[in-house]
């Protein structure tokens, strides 16, 4: 606790850096995955290839990937862009399968009805397919978010600031409180991101989460009515 009190500024700075490293890969990964998932879902023969190749990407060990990034990208060695791009690759690797599954989860009858009503292909995608894949996409996004927040700690290996610094520094200097602070702070970020995603889901997909209040109301209404009568 002592350690934390005297290093609050450092921890806060690292938390912000960590968030800054994690958010872009989550968002970009999500946006990139949807068109790829759409192609995989639309052109069935391509599905297997796309999913396997991208799935393999996730198994590329992270340290070499981080280290090779500057060589691939021509970016400066210590640039956070290296970490962001590497994390985006992992995010896409995780997310594409979910995107394809999400789009495939939309009921064929619903799509057919949408076409019969006179949605054009484009309108049908934006107003029917995408929203209806929402619940599956959201579940995938939550996994990507947790994975990205955790992987971002590795940025420290190539000298990019993140909460990972607290692990390495605390370990080298043998300060357990510093290591524990790093772990807890990372977990807190992951949990807050998850809660935010769930909240966004509630707002954007009101039709998918059976409204607890309304269900509760339905359960209690007969009792109330009965009570009122007696």
């Amino acid at each position: 606790m002592k350690w934390l009190e005297s290093n609050l500024d450092l921890v806060w700075e690292l938390v912000l850096a960590h968030i800054g490293l994690s958010v872009p890969p989550i968002l970009i990964g999500f946006l990139v995955s949807i068109p790829i998932g759409w192609v995989a879902n639309r052109y069935r023969p391509s599905r297997g290839v796309i999913l396997v190749v991208l799935g393999l990407l996730y198994t590329v060990p992270s340290i070499p990937l981080f280290i090779f990034m500057p060589i691939f990208l021509g970016t400066p060695l210590l640039s956070p862009v290296n970490v962001v791009v590497a994390l985006t690759i992992y995010a896409v690797a995780l997310m594409v399968r979910t995107a394809a599954d999400g789009l495939a989860s939309v009921d064929d009858d619903t799509l057919l009805a949408a076409s019969a009503m006179g949605y054009s292909g484009w309108q049908r995608f934006w107003r029917v397919e995408l929203p209806l894949s929402g619940p599956v996409l959201l579940s995938g996004l939550r996994v990507v978010s947790a994975s990205t927040v955790s992987l971002a700690t590795l940025g420290v290996i190539i000298g990019v600031q993140s909460l990972g610094y607290l692990f390495t520094n605390g370990f080298q200097r043998n300060i357990p409180a510093e290591v524990i602070t790093g772990i807890v702070a990372t977990l807190v970020i992951a949990v807050v991101f998850d809660l935010l995603l769930v909240l966004i889901g509630r707002l954007l997909l009101p039709w998918s989460t059976p409204d607890r209040r309304r269900r509760a109301a339905r359960r209690t209404t007969p009792a109330l009515v009965a009570g009122g009568v007696s």
Binding site: D109, T110, A116, L205, W207
Partner: protein
């Protein structure tokens, strides 16, 4: 008026679902396509709004060849009601009904106002407007489906086994409702079913189909019952087993009509 002119549909896998089909569907009447599973009913229906394009032949609506029309625009002026309602699960009832007019450019408020009126038309309580489809019973969903089909005030309403999945009592209600709506609004209804009783109840013109969309017989229910064209038709409508054979029994000074089992079904009016 909808006209099929030697329409053939061959699917990419080689299945010939419909084989040189000719039919005239009169305006402001109900035409029922009836036949057993796989005889091509759905394929025929979907060729009218170009959900499926014929391999050869043409479909003419009010003198216009549909091949020359833009499919999306064509669909917006033809109502379509399907089994299991096909409602959009993420849109409220009211928005499901208002969708087509909005796609057509009607201002949102006006479309929703009109949609509320349509809920009345199909016998639904307005309090359902803000519910999601999954919060409705099957019969209610089907009514919403009908309201949605009517929303853009189309001349033509296509209905593909719309009441196939609801219980017999609700089904009977919906059938009566359909008759009332068709008469009241003067729509051209093309209705698909495999239930001959439903076909006779709803159809001004009944078209009995065999595999490949071959017409076994087309005519009014009375014409078909009076003179089944062949053994297939006779058996399909149940005439061969005496199911449709009613007899008159004199009881006192009244004529009582009895069915093949001798069970009274009604009294002849003088």
């Amino acid at each position: 008026m909808i006209e099929f002119r030697s329409v053939t549909k061959r699917f990419p896998d080689g299945t010939v679902a419909v084989d040189s089909f000719d039919l005239v569907i009169p305006p402001r009447k109900t035409t029922v396509l009836v036949g057993s599973s796989g005889c091509g009913k759905t394929t025929l229906l979907r060729m009218i709004n170009r959900m499926i394009d014929p391999t050869s032949g043409s479909i003419i609506i009010d003198g216009e060849d549909t091949a020359g029309l833009e499919p999306v625009k064509l669909r917006r002026r033809i109502g379509y009601v399907m089994q299991n309602s096909g409602l959009l699960p993420h849109r409220k009832v009211i928005d499901n009904v208002a969708t087509v007019p909005i796609l057509n450019g009607t201002p949102k408020r006006e479309a929703r106002e009109h949609a509320l009126g349509l809920l009345d038309t199909v016998g639904l309580d307005r309090s359902l407007a803000d519910k999601y489809p999954r919060q409705l019973s099957g019969g209610q969903q089907q009514r919403v489906g009908v309201a949605r089909g009517l929303a853009a005030d189309p001349n033509i309403l296509l209905m593909d086994e719309p009441f196939g999945a609801v219980d017999p009592i609700v089904r009977a209600e919906l059938q009566q409702e359909t008759i009332r709506l068709q008469e009241g609004l003067g729509k051209t209804v093309v209705f698909v079913t495999h239930d001959i009783d439903e076909a006779f109840l709803l159809g001004h013109q009944v078209v009995i189909l065999q595999k490949g969309g071959h017409i076994a017989q087309a005519g009014s229910p009375a014409e078909i019952l009076a003179a089944p064209a062949n053994d297939f038709v006779a058996s399909f409508v149940g005439a061969d087993k005496g199911k449709r054979a009613l007899r008159i029994q004199r009881v006192g000074d009244r004529d009582v009509v009895v069915d093949e089992n001798g069970t009274p079904t009604g009294v002849l009016q003088p």
